[in-house]
Amino acid sequence: MSELASESISTARPLQLEVSDLRVQIAGHQGVVRPIDGVSLEIAPGEAVGLVGESGSGKSMTLKSILGLLPPDAKVTSGSVVFDGTDLTRLSPSLLNKVRGRRIAMIFQEPMSALNPVMRVGNQIAEGPRVHLGLSRAQSVARAVDLMRRVGIPEPERRFRAYPHEFSGGMRQRVMIAMALSCDPELILCDEPTTALDVTIQDQILRLLAQLCHESGTSLMFVTHDLPVVAQVCHKVAVMYAGRIVERGTVSEVFSRPLHPYTLDLLRSAPDVDHPGQSLVPIPGMPPSLVSPPSGCRFHPRCQFAEDDCKVSDPPLRLLEGDRATACLHFERCLDQIGTN
């Protein structure tokens, strides 16, 4: 991935996608929930960006709001999602449909529920090119067979006529990838695409995704809770906590020198297969309620470095040198911690 990313840095091309100060509200029984509360993100062409966090941090919600796929009771209250000069949050449904699947594609976690169970997989792959690119039936079928071959489905001419239930989990995810690639999109959004898969199949799918995006120059936004998976696929990473991005930077920088105590804690709480002796440090406490989040920094009740000022002032995401950003007032202490260990 590093080669891919250095290209995008050296040539300062315009951004592919720019999410600015996005806020989403859901009216719940106990009050207004704010699952996304001021998220800003950018993706350059050809770049792969990971979005990590625990369940309930708002990472999947952020991904869904880009394509207007939020549940009916959730509303974007402010902010913008600018894709190629257009704010997607202001597009009408019919105009948004011209973007969905055509220029921005999505891969979901559970391919069995994302595929149509009563439609042949080949036709599902061919549907996009026929609708969006205006291909004839024969052309779209040929394209689907070719795509199935590219994603590594054996005997594509025969498997074209199969139904999703006849495929294994890994093969279904390959079908999803073929569908996502079918209209040569500029950006693919992935929502935990390998979480439901076995480790050997996950390995195959991650390599396939990275390789295909590299070949076609497609940008990737990758949501997962699994930090090592991000290290395999992405060049940049953003860490989410309670509806906000708390840290951002290149994967190697963030994982080796975290500048937010939450990132530091996340890294220390999971066993690393290459460092067996290391003791696990759980993060104390629980993720906060999104109805009434803590004052000041949302992580302060669980933070080992919290000071009085953390309870009062809400730290913005501050830009540091080298594309890094952190929302911690005392981020230098993370560096001291790494130094002592």
Partner: protein, 337 residues
Amino acid sequence: MSEQDILEATGIEVSFSVGSPLVARLRHQPHLLHAVDGVDLRVRRGEALALVGESGSGKSTLARAIAGIQRANRGQIKLDGKVLPSSRRSRADQRRIQMVFQDPYSSLNPRLTVGGILHELLRVHHVVPRGDVESHTRELLRMVGLPEDAAGARPRQFSGGQRQRVAIARAIALRPELLVADEPVSALDVSVQATILNLLQDLRSELGLTLLFISHNLAVVRHLCDRVAVMYMGRIIEVAPTEELFRNPRHPYTAGLLAAIPRMTARDEDEAPAVRGDPPSPLRLPTGCRFRTRCPIAQQICAERDPALASADTDSEHRAACHFAWSVEAANAPEAR
């Protein structure tokens, strides 16, 4: 069975019937799925033994057969030298092997309070005198790190991690000799996983528990367990002390499984996937070695003969079921891929 073994399972077979036997016979298709197909396993007193493998490898079924909640079609399970009956176990035997399940949302009775769950167990199994049930419940909650007032709450009032603590309290309430934990942290968030893993480790040293730990997460296994048994398509294909297995895997499937773990460092993009293809259908197993259809070093002999689990020399703890496990070719297998 040697002195140090607490459990010895020999020739365990568990099969399930799939679909209608009549239709299968008319179509000349098999209808018996051999989830566990002839497994021998020894668990030593006080150790943490991991059972790893992908979905469908039979690891959960084997664990359930050992815990006595899934009847084995064939084979024998000895606990402390005593053969356990293949059908219903006596209450005293049930008590000695306890289980923690993956999903703490469905494995606790939603209508009972946590105290109620524990009281019932302690009374039915006569673990402590009746008068001590209350105080013993408090002691159990303390051991798993829950506050005392948790006894009055129902499972739905707890988070996933806390529910898993309740499930662990329930399992250790009966003072079992063997604790079988089936993916106990897979349904939990990363930050919560650590608390449960640390708890299991503490309980091991505090109570001298023997742990059979089923997981697909090899990083967790390397962190927690002393020995690892790798399963593939209903068989154990390699077993070794943890560090030995991670440093020197002898079965090509184990080598592939280890190479497939996502690491914190970026990898070479052009490298081929560690294991190719999908697992075969468990209804139509390949002849000979079950892994040969995906194996990078498969030869003619692999299609003809089913390799037995064997070690390089008799006293070695490291055993693998591959024709080439202990020959020169296997040593070069990772490079050959």
